[in-house]
Symmetry: C2
Subunit: 195 residues, 2 copies
């Protein structure tokens, strides 16, 4: 069975490869692709639109980066990336990533936090929501059918190593229109969940 399966896909056979992850700093050496989201990419996501505008006018800083290794976006492969979310606030709201479902919504993702402090917000289309603490060494399992957004509540970058099925895809549209029911804001110097 192995022979037959391999024979049928012989042209696509990939050679093994590796990548170095700095486990102290959370940096990926030589990513194939870097996705950069500046503040201006986050229009409409935060409650305080004026505060976001001010941030954009003040230089439009990088909000988060995703460092990826590319593989075929096909069943059986695994995509891996390092997500780096910078610290900061828009008004009283901590910086977060856009968040997304997977296009093939029944696919999971593992997030291993390497650095920083924050929360993984998760929700289902049926209205369930969860907020999982993230800190160095914590691995969060985002099960199939859960949208997910990282929130940085600390003072340094929140960095995670993520692995997910390469055929999962990204569905940003549903979160762009629905948002998340929970927002994480600073109140009296502490991060609080606000619904």
């Amino acid at each position: 069975m192995t022979l037959a399966a391999e024979g049928g896909l012989a042209r696509e056979l990939m050679m093994p490869w590796g990548v170095d992850i700095d486990l102290a700093e959370g940096a990926m050496a030589q990513p194939d692709r870097v996705l950069t989201r500046r503040a201006s990419a986050m229009a409409g996501y935060y409650r305080d639109a004026a505060a976001l505008d001010a941030l954009i006018r003040a230089g439009d800083p990088v909000h988060y980066e995703v460092f990826e290794k590319t593989v075929p976006e096909a069943y059986g492969h695994l995509l891996l990336c390092v997500s780096k979310l910078y610290p900061g606030k828009v008004g009283d709201e901590y910086f977060f990533t856009k968040g997304h479902y997977h296009t093939v919504s029944g696919t999971a993702e593992t997030y291993l936090c390497l650095r920083g402090q924050g929360l993984m917000l998760m929700k289902t289309a049926s209205g369930l929501c969860e907020a999982a603490p993230m800190c160095r060494g914590r691995l969060v399992y985002v099960p199939p059918h859960w949208a997910h957004r990282s929130v940085n509540t600390g003072g340094e970058p929140l960095i995670s190593l993520c692995v997910y099925p390469a055929d999962a895809g990204h569905n940003y549209g549903d979160i762009e229109s629905e948002g998340f029911p929970q927002r994480i804001v600073e109140s009296q110097g502490k991060a609080v969940i606000c619904t």
Copy 2:
């Protein structure tokens, strides 16, 4: 589509969860399952059968352990485990894991080495073989259709955090009969690849 997909699987919807990985020591806190392979489980795998017998008679020490979190073994989920391979030799051959193809051979696996020194041996049914160095922070991508075996060439446990599609399965039988074309032996105090 998300709603429909989730609705159809509502009974199986998993709640998010997390697990702590000690990134310095390589330990998983509270695994759901621990697979333990003692020397006696490795009969037939090493070249020097008499040396293995002596090791078994001398107390049959643990050869390697796999610490797992369990999820449904179904498409979309991801299995994660910590593999801990102890240091040692059987004759002049460094300790290794049995090695396996995935039953669904077209599924990949990521190995993030957290501790130790060694090699990931990989082979295809068509006769390709590769040996990838493993050390802390190195992530090895085992592509679809490659059997894989860890070899510990160092003096401390070789520990990796592994993620793979939960529907992959393990095919040990083919390696049990074929073996690997490469063996890693100590020669004049160094690890050398021997074919």
